[in-house]
């Protein structure tokens, strides 16, 4: 047909898929769908892509927002079975182009007990056998239980890891020390972690391992955005969604804050389960997603010289000041009892540049409601106060002699801190919930036939999880049914 009827011209602006959110899951979905010729529109309310895994410049320095570690390093023992390897293949980004730098070594420290780990899983096992010789047999039984559990399947049962560890292990300290890193790297649930997520994160952190792209998060964001351009995927930045309109069991259109309406055959939302329900018009009669409670504060200090000069050669330290680990929304602004230290300069080989600057990142649980109730002046004031406390507290977990604390402070050129408020801004998650809602939809399906969730609320967390989640929704919900 050569003539264009009015109906055809509306068809011109109709998309195969509209994706809400240009974080890592949205970008990955968009690349997959665009790769096979679908007409895709990617909507993002910020002026920059990446969501929580974004980047910014301050004081003439570049910072990554969320990146502590890229987990799932394809180590010699995991290789092509690593999800990171698989997602690079799916997105057709050569793994080598990330220039991954491996961690030196990392540590879980509880009171006086230390467990060290590297990207060699056998070393971690030997550490556990050394520190918990009485648990050796039970620990190996736990490992085979984890191997036999279908953690990666979309209908994996969401059992309580605390209960399973209590059944399988005799020494509660070992259980707590295994919970600490896995909760911090991906539990949406307070004081526990769903067993499938625990198994996935255990594999991601210990069996595969930690690494960092030489150029930080941009090593992933840049190839994704240039691929979108090549594939002709349309992207609208600074474009918040006002409402998602539904009729019966289908989404009919998207309404933007700027008053525009857009239509598509399929819709993917990456802003969270609860948050997507909030956008629905008419509002759903029942809320299907529990609100997430876990948020964090992170303080980044930029200091002179290489960390080795301070005697710090570890990459990540998960710390807790007693034998029992609590992973909750604290009752005050920040909980200093436990946290995570990351020294990104300790990925890869140390630089020989004496004049270089390094970063020290320290993360703690924090309370969203308390931080968001502060007015601008006291928010800034509290940030300053807690920056000092966090740094002083964090240094206790690094090999630091007391006299050095003041010296370190004098060599600190700048500090930047983000709070639960910042997380809310970048993720849209209610309550600034770092890992979204404890209710997860692994396959991304919703009660609407043409609306799918991708990202954190699928339950695949972290950078690698978000990307794989986005890929899985594009593949299983859309491409397979073409």
């Amino acid at each position: 047909m050569s003539t264009v009827s009015p109906k055809d011209s509306t068809a011109d602006s109709h998309y195969d898929v509209i994706i809400i959110g240009a974080g890592l899951s949205g970008l990955s979905s968009a690349v997959r769908l665009g790769m096979f010729g679908l007409k895709v529109l990617l909507l993002e309310k910020h002026y920059i892509v990446g969501g929580l895994n974004s980047f910014y410049a301050k004081g003439g320095r570049k910072f990554d927002v969320g990146l502590h570690a890229l987990t799932n390093f394809p180590s010699p023992s995991s290789g092509k079975s690593s999800p990171l390897f698989k997602l690079c293949r799916q997105l057709r980004i050569p793994l080598d182009s990330l220039a991954l730098q491996e961690q030196t070594s990392s540590r879980i420290t509880f009171g006086t007990t230390d467990l060290r780990f590297t990207n060699n899983f056998d070393f971690f096992i030997s550490e556990i056998e050394r520190v918990f010789p009485h648990e050796q047999e039970r620990f190996h039984r736990l490992l085979s239980k984890m191997e036999n559990f279908p953690a990666y399947s979309v209908d994996a049962e969401e059992l309580s890891t605390r209960n399973i560890l209590a059944e399988e292990l005799n020494d509660p300290l070992l259980a707590e020390m295994l919970l600490c890193p896995t909760c911090y790297y991906g539990s949406a649930r307070e004081n526990d972690i769903d067993f499938p997520t625990f198994v996935m994160l255990f594999d991601a952190i210990f069996k595969q391992g930690l690494a960092r792209p030489e150029k930080g998060i941009r090593a992933l964001l840049d190839p994704l955005t240039s691929k979108l351009k090549e594939l002709g995927v349309e992207r609208k930045m600074n474009t918040p969604v006002k409402a998602v309109h539904a009729e019966e069991d289908r989404i009919t259109k998207i309404e933007l804050e700027n008053g525009e309406y857009l239509t598509a055959t399929h819709y993917i939302s990456t802003c969270g389960g609860l948050e997507t329900e909030t956008l629905l018009q008419p509002p759903p009669q029942t809320k299907n997603f529990e609100i997430g409670r876990f948020s964090i504060i992170e303080s980044i200090s930029v200091f002179e010289g290489h960390p080795k000069a301070w005697g710090w050669d570890e990459t990540v330290v998960f710390f807790n000041d007693s034998d029992s680990f609590s992973y909750n929304e604290p009752k005050e602004l920040v909980d200093l009892h436990s946290g995570v230290i990351c020294i990104p300069n300790n990925y890869g080989l140390p630089s020989l540049d004496q004049k270089q600057e390094s970063k020290l990142r320290v993360t703690h649980p924090a309370n969203y409601s308390l931080w968001s109730a502060l007015n601008e002046e006291s928010y800034a004031g509290q940030k300053k106060i807690w920056e000092g406390k966090i740094l002083e507290n964090g240094l206790r977990y690094l090999p630091t002699i007391k006299e050095k604390v003041a010296k370190f402070k004098s060599k600190t050129r700048m500090t930047d801190t983000f709070t639960p408020r910042t997380i809310k801004k970048f993720t849209s998650h209610e309550n600034g919930a770092l890992y979204g809602s404890p209710t997860k939809r692994r396959d991304g399906a919703t009660s609407f036939q043409n609306l799918f969730l991708a990202g954190t609320d699928q339950g695949y967390v972290g950078i690698v999880g978000a990307m794989l989640g986005g890929i899985a929704v594009a593949n299983n919900q859309i491409l397979r049914n073409l």
Binding site: M35, F36, G37, I471, R480
Partner: protein, 86 residues
């Protein structure tokens, strides 16, 4: 179109989606999964590339017809031939 050409088409697609695999010694009668590191996501990509490059549809229930180069050739030949005469 003939079966050898189809095998080459499938190999070319695999080279594109899995550039790290060595394809010099792929045995046509043996399952691809047993000689290469390919999973269900990779097979989806083979299907998607057949669709994009050659306009051939493989319904999800028939993905297993692509398990070896020989089975690919047998299964795809009539589809290529219909495509050519249409």
């Amino acid at each position: 179109m003939n079966k050898d050409k189809i095998k080459q088409i499938v190999l070319d697609i695999i080279a594109e989606i899995a550039p790290d695999e060595v394809l010099t010694d792929v045995k046509p009668e043996i399952r691809l999964r047993d000689q290469l590191d390919l999973d269900s996501m990779d097979f989806l990509d083979i299907v998607m590339e057949l669709r994009k490059q050659h306009g051939i549809d493989v319904p999800e229930g028939e993905y297993r017809e692509l398990e070896s180069l020989d089975s690919c050739a047998n299964y795809l030949l009539p589809k290529f031939e219909t495509g050519a005469t249409a």
